[in-house]
Structures are given as structure tokens and as C-alpha cells.
């Protein structure tokens, strides 16, 4: 019963969304008026490379092969999926001939580390503080925090990241200006390296954390204010249940449900925000990789990052969807 009503539709949606998303990625360059091959050649020329006329045809056909543009669209589409299943996302055009997947895998641990920790922490802490602020909504500290959130929350990631960078890195010099670890350090599990990583991660993590926490704070506060008015809370209070238990088991426990759903829906936005923050700090994750790809016109790399992100985010949303029933018995036992 549960499987049929809750699980199955979501699994189907998961597969369909990935299919549709990747198909869209496939079709975008092919439907837009500009031919990527000619563009690449134009950009090569703009950078001043000299191209022999005879070599031009070979280059065009090579590029077509690399971009997967040979044959009819159906052929291309099938070949595209074939390559995907083999884990072949093509090769980076600018960092030729490094496979795109390798580049992504090198950048991934940085982004994953940053994203996982800040998302989970900001969700947990933002919700916790928001929960109490919503319950004690008339107290001074609750209103002060809300006023603060009103100013912080609408700021876009890059502006906030930039402000932190300016103040703490440029002016105060407390933290490094860019990078993931000190230049020249080789990744290893030694303490100096870990320390350097942590130190470099502070500002980007703080930047994402504060903005995300502000959002969770405000939404949780609203949810808790609504739940406070629910009859089961009033009933528990009228039956003399101790207040701390009312807050934890009756109010916050129920308020978490829409917040978990909200987390799933926001993952896409949080991911984009993290990428942008990385760009500001030149943090060696997917964000900077993307930025370099854009600057260098490395279309294959961008496509690879997009495909990877679609799969990663859709999977994360599915995981959140799968976790939700553990918290809501109304779904578990329909």
C-alpha cells in the first residue's frame, strides 16, 4: 500500500526527470541557432590559432565526433546514452584531452564536502533556532533575530560571499582570499593539510551557512507559529504536559515535517548558490570548474557538469523523499 502510493510514483518520477533533463541537455545545443562546432572554430580563431585550410575539414569532423554530432539525431541520441552508461562524458575541450569525468571527480570532493556540511548544519541549526523563535514569538530575542533575517535573507549568495571576502580576507586578513588549501600542498590525510583545508573552507562555508540558515529560520518560525495554534498543542497544554515536552515533541517534531519536504525542494537552489559562492572564493570545486569552462568556452565540460548535477541533485531529492516517511507515520501507515 505504502509502496504503491508513495514509493512507486516517486521512483517513476526520478527516472523520468533524469531522462527528460538529460534529453534537454542533449537537445539544447542542437536546437539553438548556433552550431557549436563553428563556434568552437570561431573561438579558436579569436584566440589567434592559425588553422591550415586543409586541416579545417579534419578539425570539423573531429569536433563533430567529439561533440557527438555525427549521424542523424537518433543516432546521436543513442550514442549519447551509450557513452553515458559507460561513464564517458566526453573530453574537455580546453584541457584537452582530459576526460570531463576526471575533471569533475577532482573537483567533486571539495564541493561535496562544502555542500553537505553547510546544508545539513544550516538546516539543523536554522530550524532549531527558528523553532524556539516561533514558539517564543513575542520575546525580544525572537523579534531581533527575525529582523536580522529580514535583511540577510534576500541577499544573493554572491553579494554576501563577496562582502565576507572583502571584510575578513582582504581587510582583516584573518582568512585566505582564495583556494581550497595552501598552494603547492599535496592532498593527504596529514594534519597540516587537513588544517589548511579547514581554514580555507571557513569563509565559503560561513557564507553559505548564514544565508541558508536565515531561510530555514524564517520558514520554521512561520511553521511553528501555525502549529502552535493547532488543537493538539492546546490539548496537551490543557492536560498539563510540561512545556519543554510540548515544545519538543508536539511543536518542533511536527514542524520538521514540512521542513524536510522543503529541504528536498530547495536542493537545486542551494546547489546553485554553492557553485556561485565557490566562484567568488576561487574554491576548487565544481563552481570554479564551471567558471573556467565558461571563460574558456569549454562546452563539453559545461555539458558534463550539467549532466552530473542533474543526476546528483535528483538522487539527493529522492533520498530526502525516502527519508520523510520515517518521520511521518501518516505516510508509513496509510
Amino acid at each position: 500500500m505504502f509502496l504503491k502510493q508513495y514509493l512507486l510514483p516517486r521512483l517513476i518520477q526520478y527516472v523520468l526527470v533524469i531522462l527528460l533533463g538529460i534529453t534537454a541537455v542533449f537537445f539544447i545545443p542542437r536546437l539553438l541557432p548556433n552550431d557549436p562546432v563553428l563556434r568552437t572554430i570561431a573561438e579558436m580563431r579569436a584566440r589567434g590559432s592559425y588553422l591550415e585550410p586543409g586541416a579545417m575539414d579534419k578539425i570539423i569532423s573531429d569536433l563533430q565526433q567529439m561533440y557527438g554530432l555525427e549521424g542523424s539525431w537518433l543516432d546521436q541520441y543513442l550514442a549519447f546514452w551509450g557513452r553515458l552508461f559507460r561513464g564517458d562524458l566526453g573530453v574537455s575541450f580546453f584541457q584537452f584531452p582530459t576526460p570531463v569525468l576526471d575533471l569533475i571527480m577532482t573537483a567533486l570532493p571539495w564541493t561535496a564536502g562544502l555542500l553537505l556540511t553547510t546544508t545539513l548544519l544550516s538546516w539543523a541549526i536554522g530550524n532549531l533556532i527558528g523553532g524556539f523563535a516561533g514558539y517564543y514569538t513575542n520575546q525580544g530575542w525572537s523579534r531581533a533575530l527575525d529582523a536580522l533575517a529580514m535583511v540577510v535573507r534576500p541577499l544573493p549568495y554572491y553579494i554576501f560571499a563577496f562582502a565576507l571576502l572583502l571584510i575578513f580576507a582582504y581587510l582583516l586578513r584573518w582568512f585566505p582570499v582564495s583556494g581550497g588549501a595552501r598552494l603547492g600542498m599535496r592532498p593527504s590525510w596529514t594534519w597540516p593539510f587537513v588544517q589548511s583545508v579547514l581554514w580555507h573552507a571557513v569563509l565559503p562555508a560561513l557564507s553559505i551557512f548564514v544565508l541558508s540558515a536565515a531561510v530555514w529560520f524564517q520558514t520554521m518560525k512561520l511553521v511553528v507559529q501555525n502549529i502552535n495554534a493547532e488543537s493538539f498543542v492546546a490539548y496537551a497544554k490543557l492536560s498539563g504536559v510540561r512545556e519543554n515536552r510540548v515544545v519538543s515533541r508536539y511543536v518542533i517534531r511536527n514542524a520538521l515535517l514540512p521542513q524536510i519536504t522543503g529541504l528536498g525542494l530547495s536542493l537545486g537552489l542551494i546547489f546553485s548558490g554553492a557553485l556561485i559562492t565557490e566562484i567568488v572564493y576561487s574554491y576548487p570545486g565544481l563552481g570554479t570548474l564551471l567558471y573556467n569552462a565558461i571563460v574558456n568556452g569549454d562546452y563539453n565540460l559545461i555539458m558534463g557538469i550539467t549532466i552530473f548535477s542533474i543526476i546528483a541533485i535528483t538522487t539527493s531529492v529522492l533520498i530526502v523523499d525516502l527519508i520523510y516517511p520515517f518521520f511521518d507515520p501518516r505516510i508509513r501507515y496509510m
Binding site: 488543537s231 493538539f232 492536560s239 498539563g240 517534531r253
Partner: protein, 335 residues
């Protein structure tokens, strides 16, 4: 019937709301005097919006902003001594709940925490009042208790959404009676239930009262329920009690014009004449008429009714009415 165990003296409880700069005062409980006795079932009857629920909140000492007790007091009789509720601390009030005074809510969708099992709700309620070593006993008691009330003990393992409305209502009654409180307050406990289940719940309440010999205050607009189990009834209108008498007299000799309308509008078997209900609609509690609040709808309204609020007149032992017709001895005359 014994002494008064729950009293309200000249009680006024208003809501003060600030809606975008305009202040609205809602006089939900407007000078109420009540003396509810031990070992009786007292019914409070009235239309929606007459202030019944607010009166209950005040009686249960659950007054929170924007509701405020403006004047008057609520008095409990705990262990033989009279206690003014206003003098109690939050913690003292909390300890009285369930052990001295319990609450049965309107059993609509969600009075039970939807994400925990019934037994966890039981645990929350019990643990807030009993010591650790008493808990084990309390749970065994709870199981017995459920059986006595005709509920299967495996209810404890269920989640609220798995139970029907009637079951949930019975669970709340079970919870209310668990610690044998002296007073049980019920806020429309039979509304939102279908007729068959209603009958079962009403019967349950009667059984509970006869076993515990405590006091039950029942608020409902359903006169049929009052007729069934109430010993005495207080008729409430626009924040005031306008008539109070034993059940037989309310139904047999209704005195206040509003009560008469209420009783006369009830259908009777075999009587096919069209029923007449009160003309007009109840006044807004934020904008009450002067003098007696019923005068705009009263067919017998006199000039004094528009100017002054009548006091209580005793028309029979235990039967009091607040009406100028009675007070001035002009009862029975038409306008």
C-alpha cells in the same frame, strides 16, 4: 449534590485585538456568576459565538493573551479549601490539570499528536503528573481503564490517524478520567460525531460521572444532549448567563424569552406544527447592544431593557433568570 466546587464571580474575560491600528475588544465573557457543585453534570447551552468556549477557557484557568481576565475571579475548591485561580503560579496550575480538573476537547481531526502513538501520548500525559515508580502502575491502570470504557487495549499501539472520530473522542475521555479528576470540562464533545457514536459517547460520560461521582461541565449547543445527561443547565447568551435551572425546569418551564425560543424550536414527536426559531442573528461580541443584549430580538422588549442589564431573579428554588419581565413582575404580559 454537594457544595460548589467551581465558582465564577463577576467574571469578565475579553479579547483585545489590534488589527492594523484599530483596537477591537471582544467581550466574550461579560459578567458571569456561576456556582457548579460536586457530583453533578452542569450543562452550558447557547448558540455559536455566545462565548461558551471562552468561558470554558476561563474556568480551566487557561487564559492566554490576547484573552485577558478583566475583572472577577474563578475559584476552585481543592481538598476542601477555596483557591482563587489567579493566585496560582503556572506550575501549580499545571499540576492541577488532569489530577483535579481535566479537559475533553472537541474530537475533530487533530487533538492527538499525529506523529506519535496513542501510548506515547498517554506516556506524555501521565509522566507530567506522576512519579517514576508510579508510572508502571499508571500504565496498567490505563489499560484496564480502556477496557472498562469499552475500548480495545491495542488502541495504544495505533497512530491517531488510524482511529475513527468516535474512537479518538473516546480516547480523550479515557485520558480525561484517568487520574480521577474532581472536575471534567467538555467542550462540544459530541459535535462532529455521527448520531450513533454520539449516543455511545453520551452514555460513556454518564457512566463515568456515576462511577467517579465528580463534576462534569458540558458545553454544547445540542439541547438533546443536555436533556439526556445534564442535571442543571445554564443558558448563555452574548457572554452572559441569562437563565439557570435544573434540566426539567428548563425544558418544562423556560422563563427567559431566549430560552423559550430555544425550547420551542426543538422538534417533538407527533407535533407537526412549524417550529419557530429566534428572529434575527446573535450580536457581535465586539459591538454589544446597550442594556440587555437580547432586546433587539426580544418580542417583549420594554424601554428599561434597552437601558439597563437586568440582575438575577429567583423564580423557584434553584431557578434564576435575568430578565426585566420577571423582575418587574410583568411576566406573561405581551409587549
Amino acid at each position: 449534590m454537594g457544595d460548589a466546587i467551581l465558582r465564577a464571580e463577576a467574571l469578565r474575560a475579553f479579547y483585545a485585538l489590534d488589527i492594523y491600528g484599530k483596537t477591537k475588544v471582544i467581550k466574550a465573557v461579560n459578567d458571569v456568576d456561576l456556582a457548579i457543585r460536586e457530583n453533578e453534570i452542569y450543562g452550558i447551552a447557547g448558540e455559536s459565538g455566545c462565548g461558551k468556549s471562552t468561558l470554558l477557557k476561563a474556568l480551566a484557568a487557561a487564559v492566554e493573551p490576547p484573552l485577558r481576565v478583566m475583572s472577577g475571579k474563578v475559584v476552585y475548591r481543592v481538598n476542601g479549601a477555596e483557591v482563587d485561580v489567579a493566585a496560582l503560579s503556572q506550575e501549580e496550575k499545571r499540576q492541577l490539570r488532569m489530577t483535579y480538573i481535566a479537559y475533553v476537547p472537541q474530537g475533530s481531526m487533530s487533538v492527538l499528536n499525529p506523529v506519535v502513538r496513542i501510548r506515547d501520548t498517554y506516556r506524555d500525559f501521565i509522566e507530567s503528573h506522576l512519579d517514576v515508580h508510579q508510572k508502571g502502575e499508571a500504565f496498567a491502570l490505563a489499560r484496564e481503564h480502556l477496557v472498562e470504557l469499552g475500548l480495545p487495549p491495542k488502541i495504544l499501539d495505533a497512530y491517531p490517524h488510524q482511529l475513527s472520530g468516535g474512537m479518538r473522542q473516546r480516547v480523550t475521555i479515557a485520558l480525561a478520567t484517568l487520574l480521577k479528576p474532581r472536575i471534567i470540562i467538555g467542550d462540544e464533545p459530541t459535535t462532529a460525531l455521527d448520531v450513533v457514536v454520539q449516543r455511545g459517547v453520551v452514555q460513556l460520560i454518564k457512566d463515568v460521572q456515576s462511577r467517579l461521582k465528580n463534576t462534569i461541565v458540558l458545553v454544547t449547543h445540542d439541547m438533546g444532549v443536555h436533556a439526556n445527561i445534564a442535571d442543571r443547565i445554564g443558558i448563555m447568551y452574548a457572554g452572559k448567563i441569562v437563565e439557570e435551572a435544573p434540566t426539567e425546569r428548563i425544558f418544562g418551564a423556560p422563563t427567559h424569552p431566549y430560552t423559550r425560543y430555544l425550547i420551542n424550536s426543538l422538534p417533538r414527536f407527533g407535533d407537526k406544527t412549524p417550529r419557530e426559531s429566534v428572529p434575527g442573528s446573535p450580536p457581535s461580541l465586539a459591538n454589544l447592544p446597550s442594556g440587555c443584549p437580547f432586546h433587539p430580538r426580544c418580542p417583549h422588549a420594554m424601554n428599561i431593557c434597552k437601558r439597563e442589564m437586568p440582575g438575577f431573579t429567583r423564580v423557584a428554588p434553584d431557578h434564576r433568570v435575568a430578565c426585566w419581565l420577571v423582575e418587574e413582575g410583568r411576566y406573561g404580559e405581551t409587549a
